[in-house]
Amino acid sequence: MFKFPEVVTIPLAKVIDFIMSWLLTHLDGFFDAIGFIILQVVLAFETIFLFIPWFVMIPLAGLAGWKLIGKKRSGLLFMTLLFLIGTFGYWELSMRTLSLVIASVFFALIMGIPLGISMARSDRFEAILKPILDGMQTMPSFVYLIPALMFFGMGKVPAMFATIIYAVPPVIRLTNVGIRTVDKEAVEASLAFGATAKQVLFDVQLPLAKPSIMVGINQTTMMALAMVVIGSMIGAKGLGMEVLLAINRIEVGKGFEAGLSIVFLAIIVDRITFSFSEKK
């Protein structure tokens, strides 16, 4: 085997470290501001979810399953799953996890949908953004934790920051694809009748791309849920932390309970968000 010559090195790691330290010293206030906004949003969601008592939340989930998916069976399933989470003793933690997920998705959509729209409008922007998105999705998720930690310290905010970065690509991609695959003649028709670019977007492109965008939102939500668990490694309270503790203490049973709670949440969130993509 030939050894790669040691003299040929590009000090990428050093460059990145340098950029990081530069960002930290010069854009400190900027990150503080972002952190503040993120925190306020997640706290608002947390307040709501922790305020609603379990005996209201469970029927609400049942109602959502029944009305949104259109099957009584789904409603019953949701109620059972939430009830089981309660019996494990993870009600509060799962509500915290849920708030984190929803707040992260909220930010991911605010960024992702406009980015997807601009990507659909410009071939050049698409060419630039695509490899970045590939990178964001294939990069091991733990890698995001380190810079997040450096920018925002420990706690919910860095966990959410990492989650947003990790979860945003699907909604960008599917918004882009959705708009690009809209019936060409429908767009032409709209233009032919004198629609402005904005009218074309809101009358034709977004409505016709809606199923695709909804699938994107669904995927983003699922990825956010997965990442939030990892985010607990840097101090976000929630079900993920329980799993982490169980691993440290080698408590298999407890680990499974916490793990199952995450799976149950995932099932409910997935079914509900997916139901939006199926409707007209």
């Binding site: 003649e185 429908a186 032409e188 032919a192 004198g194 629609a195 402005t196 409505p207 016709l208």
Partner: protein, 421 residues
């Protein structure tokens, strides 16, 4: 272009190269080149090469090459060609869904190619209605909302646009379907929605991009007939793209045939069929039925013998016998057709006591007549039932000429057809 042959016999003004006063749309030296850095194709180096050579040398595809057309107000104008001939590109250029590479398009004296974005949007709203091959409807909106779309983009309030849209939907025969979604309608009905949407603005110019290509033959024919009827009422300028020759011949006042992005021939349906400009068009029209385009006017002849009502039965009978005929058309003093006088009936008149001065109407056989614009196909059924030539009369029933079965056969027999027209 040397290849373009514009017929001048019937409509001499269409062939004039300079701008015509009645022309609503004037297309001049229009080029469209697709591909990277397409402007260089328009330079001297490449401009005169063939489409294939240009593609080989520059990688650019010539979509339209040096198009010059003039379309008059109220004209039903067909752009015909096979796929890849540039007909769809051309119609999209007329509303700038595709932007031309060079040349100009003037509509009502305004240069479309020079318009800025806002101006263009306003111009589209004022001037056009467009119908698409695959309808281009919005599936998430009702038929009524779809039909009202052109009004919605202009910011017209809901009540007004619904009121107008309902009226137009009624015109296209979709009353009662307002609250359905396009997806639940058949293809023919969806295209009616498309047509309603195009008409709701009451546009001056109607652009139709293969609107009936996706429909099955029966529905297609029905829609064509309805469009003709509608056009009789509306008198819009219609630019209609099709690859179907029969459709072109049936609908068009004039037809421009395109090949490889160039105009090969412009003419009326009859001119196209009887005087194809080159082998390509001859090939194109080979299975076109001349019976659908040749009119009574172009093949009628003066009647061989004509009887005059005031001459009395005796003269008529003498004339018939002299010509060895058993019957002939008979007209009054203002040359109006009265019917056919038959030998046996005339004889009976003479046998009757008392002198008959004028041949009475009761002694005449009534015959079906046609107008000069009747196409051969419609004359066939009359001539089959009738032993006489078919009389051609104008709107005052004045006899213009007759069409015999011999003339019909001559006119539709392939190659010799040219000599007879």
């Amino acid at each position: 272009m040397s290849e373009i042959k514009t017929q001048t016999q019937e409509e001499p003004d269409t062939a004039l190269p300079e701008i015509n006063k009645t022309s609503q749309i004037v297309i001049k030296d229009l080029w469209k080149v697709f591909g990277r850095d397409s402007k260089r194709v328009l330079g001297k180096k490449y401009k005169d090469l063939s489409k294939d050579e240009i593609q080989e040398k520059t990688g650019c595809i010539v979509g339209l090459r040096d198009i010059n057309l003039e379309i008059k107000k109220g004209e039903f104008y067909i752009l015909m060609g096979l796929s890849g001939s540039g007909k769809s590109t051309l119609i999209r250029n007329l509303i700038r869904l595709v932007n031309s590479s060079s040349g100009s398009i003037e509509i009502n004296g305004k240069n479309l190619t020079k318009m800025k974005q806002e101006e263009l949007i306003e111009f589209r709203r004022q001037t056009y209605g467009m119908v698409f091959q695959h309808y281009g409807l919005l599936p998430h909106q009702t038929v009524l909302d779809n039909a009202a779309y052109g009004l919605k983009v202009r910011g017209i309030v809901k009540e007004t646009r619904y009121e107008k849209a309902s009226k137009v939907l009624e015109t296209v025969g979709l009353k009662g379907w307002e609250n359905y979604y396009p997806g639940s309608l058949s293809g023919g009905m969806q295209q009616r929605v498309g047509l309603a949407r195009a008409l709701v603005n009451d546009p001056e110019i109607l652009l139709m991009d293969e609107p009936f290509s996706g429909l099955d033959p029966l529905i297609k024919r029905q829609m064509q007939d309805e469009l003709i009827e509608l056009q009789d009422k509306l008198q819009k300028t219609i630019i209609f793209v099709t690859h179907d020759l029969h459709e072109a011949l049936k609908l068009g006042d004039r037809i421009a045939i395109l090949r490889n992005g160039e105009v090969v021939q412009v003419g009326t349906p009859e001119e196209i069929v009887t005087q194809p400009a080159d082998g390509y068009i001859q090939e194109f029209i080979r299975d076109a039925s001349p019976a659908k385009v040749i009119t009574a006017r172009s093949i009628m002849e003066p009647a061989k013998i004509l009887l005059y009502a005031w001459e009395g039965p005796k003269t008529a009978l003498t004339l018939l016998r002299a010509n060895k005929r058993r019957g002939a058309f008979i007209v009054d003093k203002s040359h109006k057709l009265l019917g056919v006088a038959q030998e046996d009936k005339l004889e009976k008149l003479l046998i009757k006591p008392g002198k008959v001065e004028i041949i009475p109407k009761s002694a005449l056989r009534q015959v079906t007549s046609v107008s000069p614009d009747t196409i051969l196909e419609d004359i066939f059924s009359i001539i089959i039932k009738n032993p006489y030539p078919v009389p051609v009369v104008d709107e005052n029933n004045k006899l213009l000429g007759v069409v015999t079965s011999d003339q019909i056969f001559e006119s539709i027999s392939p190659m010799e057809g040219e000599d007879n027209v």
